[in-house]
Amino acid sequence: MKPHMAHRRSGVTVALTIAAVAALALTACGTTAGTTSSSDLKQATKLGASEKTVSILAWPGYVEDGSNDPAVNWVKSFEDQTGCAVSSKVYGTSDEAFSLMKSGNYDVVAASGDLTLRLIASRQVAPVNTDLIPSYKDIYSFLKLKAWNSVDGQSYGIPHGYGANLLAYNTKTFPTAPTSWDVVFDKSSPYKGKVTAYDSPIYIADAAMYLMTHDKALGIKNPYSLDAKQLAASVSLLREQRANVGEYWSDYLKSTQSFETGDSVVGTTWQVIKNSMAADTAVDVMVPSEGVTGWSDTWMVGAKAKSPNCAYKWLDYIASPKVNAQATEYFGEAPSSSQACDFTADKNTCATYHAGDEDYASKIWYWTTPIAKCLDGRTDVTCTDYSQWTTAWQEIKG
C-alpha cells in the first residue's frame, strides 16, 4: 500500500468512526423555539358544538380502544355517544408528556401530580369549569381542588385515579412486618444491596416525608415544599441510603422481577406490582407509620385545544362511574368516582386499592411538582424547584 493511500484511508476511517460515535452519543437533537402567549387563560363558560375529533395524551392503559386487548375498549362507546373521534398517544414519563404538550397538539392530557403544576405554570393547560362536567359531583371530595390539580381555588382538571407508593418487604427477611420506612433509610444497612427505591427526582419527597417525623427540627410541613436546607437534609439521607440500594426502578417489570427473585427484599412498590407478582412470592406490602407518597392523576384540557368541546365531553365521560371503574381497574389504582365501586369487574378491587377510604387517602402525600413558591404557604423563603430536585437526584445516584 502506498503511503499516501494509507494516510487517506485512515483519514476516512477516523472520520467515519467519529461520525458513528457522534451518532451514538447524540440521543436527541433539535431545539424548541417560540414563546407562550401572555394572554390570560379563561375557563370555558358554555359548551358549543362537537368538533368531531379529540386528541388525547395519556399514560398507557388510560385510553384503551381495543388495540391492545379487544375486550378492553372504552373509547368506542365514547365515540358512539358523542361523535368525537379519538386519537390518542401514550407517554412513558411525566417529563416526556411535558415536552409533548409543548407541541400544542393535544386537546386533553392525563397528568400526574409531578407534571400538573409545570403544565399550569408554563400555560400549556387551561382552567376547567367543573360545572360543565356532570360526573364531577360524584368525585371523592378529598381529591377535589388539591394543590396538584388547582391553583387558588380554580380547578385545572378532573381527578382520575389514585394510588400509593407502598413499602414492600420480603416476609422471609422480615418475619415480623416492619412498621416504619426506617428499614429503607436509617436501618437499611442489614439489607445492603437488597434495598430498592423509585428512580425519579420525585422520590426525594419520600425522604422528606420520613424526615417530617424523624427530624422535627427541620420543620418540614409538606414533603414537596422544601427550602434549600431541608432539601440538603433529604439529599444527605438519600446519599446514605444509596450505599445500601441494590437498584432503582422505574419500569414495573423490573420491580416485580427483583422482588420475585429475592434480589430486592425491601423498598418502594405499587399495589399493582404486588398484584402482578407470582402467587407464591413471599412479599407483602404495607403503609408505614410515617405515611406514604402517592399519585392522583388529573385529566386536563390543553390551552391550545382545537376541540375544547370534545375535550370536555371526554372529561365527563372518563369520570363517569362505569368508565372510571373500568379504566382505573385496568391500570391498577383506586377510582376517583364514589359511584365507581359498583361497576368494577372484580368486586374486591375497591377494597384492594382502598378506594374511598378517606383515612387511607389522608395518609398519602400525593405527588406535586415542587416549585419555587412554597406549597406549604411559607413566604419568607424560596423553595427548591423540580430542576433543582433533578440535579440533586443525579448527584444522589452518583
Partner: protein, 299 residues
C-alpha cells in the same frame, strides 16, 4: 426500418445524456455520490454541529424552553462538577474493562476459526458468532438480568465452588456489555488473522521459533490493526450505552444515563449536549493515541 429506429434511439435524450456522462467523468461522479453525501452531511455532520451548538445555549427554568443565549456555563459545569467527573471515570473504566475482556476472549476464538478449524467448522463458527446479533439487544440484556439474579443460573453454577453471583452492579454490567459487543470484536480479529499467511508461520517454525515466539513476533504485529479495529467498536459502544447499566447495573449510572435524564427528566437539552461532548472528546483522544501507534494506517 432497422436503421431508422436505431437512428431514433441514438437521437433520444437518454442517449445524449449517456454520451455526455461518458465524456464528463466528474459530472458522473457528482451525480453518483451527491445523494449519499447529502445524507451523510444531513445525518452525521448537521446533527453533530447542532449538538455542538446546543451545548452553548441555556434553558429557561420557568417555561422549559431552550434559549439561544450563548454561554459556557454548561461546559464549565460538566468539566468541574464532581458528579460528571466520577461518572466519566466510571464509564471510561468500564469501557476499558469491556474492551480488554472482549479482546482476551476474541483472540483464541478468532485464532481457532482462522487457523485451526476446517472450512466447514469455520462456517459454522461464523454463523454461531453472528447468531446473537439476530436477537434483540433488550432481550439479551434481560436474559443476563435473570442469569445474574440471586436465584439465576450463574449462582447455581458457582455455588458448589463457594462462589456467588456478582449480582446487579458494575461487574454485572461489564460482563453483559462484553457479551453484547463480542461479535464486533471477534469478526475484525478473525478477518485480520485470515490475512496472516500460513507461510510466515511455517517459516517462523522452520527457523526454530516456538509457538509463543511465533505468536509474539509474527502474528501479533500483523494482527495489531485488527485488534485496534475491534477495540474501537467495543470501546465506543460501551461509552455510549445507557440501557444495559439500567437493567443489570444496579444503582449505577453511566454518561449515557446523564444525557438521558437531562434530555428527559430535567428537560435540559443544552446540558445533555455538553455531557455528550465528553465521550466524543474521549474517542478523539483514543483515536489520536491509536493513530500514533500507526495501527490506523494499515487498517
Amino acid at each position: 426500418m432497422t436503421t431508422q429506429s436505431e437512428t431514433r434511439v441514438r437521437d433520444g435524450a437518454g442517449h445524449r445524456a449517456s454520451v455526455f456522462l461518458y465524456s464528463h467523468v466528474r459530472v458522473r461522479l457528482a451525480l453518483l455520490i451527491s445523494a449519499p453525501l447529502f445524507w451523510l452531511g444531513l445525518v452525521y455532520i448537521a446533527a453533530l454541529v447542532a449538538l455542538l451548538v446546543t451545548a452553548f445555549w441555556t434553558v429557561d427554568s420557568f417555561t422549559g424552553e431552550v434559549r439561544t443565549d450563548w454561554t459556557f456555563d454548561n461546559i464549565i459545569t460538566v468539566l468541574t462538577g464532581s458528579l460528571y467527573q466520577s461518572v466519566t471515570l466510571r464509564t471510561l473504566g468500564m469501557a476499558v474493562l469491556v474492551t480488554i475482556a472482549d479482546i482476551v476472549i476474541a483472540l483464541p476464538i478468532a485464532f481457532f476459526m482462522a487457523k485451526v478449524a476446517s472450512a466447514k467448522w469455520q462456517r459454522i463458527l461464523v454463523i454461531a458468532i453472528l447468531m446473537p446479533l439476530w436477537a434483540s439487544y433488550l432481550v439479551k440484556a434481560y436474559a443476563w438480568r435473570s442469569v445474574l439474579s440471586n436465584d439465576g443460573i450463574f449462582q447455581w453454577i458457582v455455588q458448589p465452588f463457594g462462589g456467588t453471583t456478582p449480582g446487579y452492579g458494575i461487574p454485572g454490567a461489564v460482563i453483559t456489555l462484553a457479551y453484547l459487543w463480542l461479535p464486533y470484536v471477534i469478526l475484525p480479529i478473525y478477518a485480520g488473522l485470515e490475512r496472516v499467511p500460513d507461510s510466515l508461520l511455517e517459516a517462523s517454525s522452520d527457523l526454530g521459533a516456538g509457538t509463543w515466539r511465533t505468536l509474539r513476533s509474527i502474528v501479533l504485529p500483523l494482527l495489531w490493526p485488527a485488534i485496534v479495529a475491534g477495540s474501537i467498536f467495543s470501546f465506543s459502544l460501551t461509552l455510549g450505552d445507557y440501557i444495559t447499566i439500567n437493567i443489570v447495573g444496579g444503582a449505577n449510572q453511566m454518561l449515557g444515563n446523564l444525557v438521558y435524564t437531562n434530555v428527559g427528566a430535567a428537560n435540559n437539552l443544552p446540558l445533555a449536549s455538553a455531557i455528550a461532548l465528553i465521550p466524543i472528546a474521549i474517542i478523539f483522544v483514543y483515536l489520536a493515541a491509536v493513530r500514533r501507534t500507526g495501527a490506523l494506517n494499515s487498517l
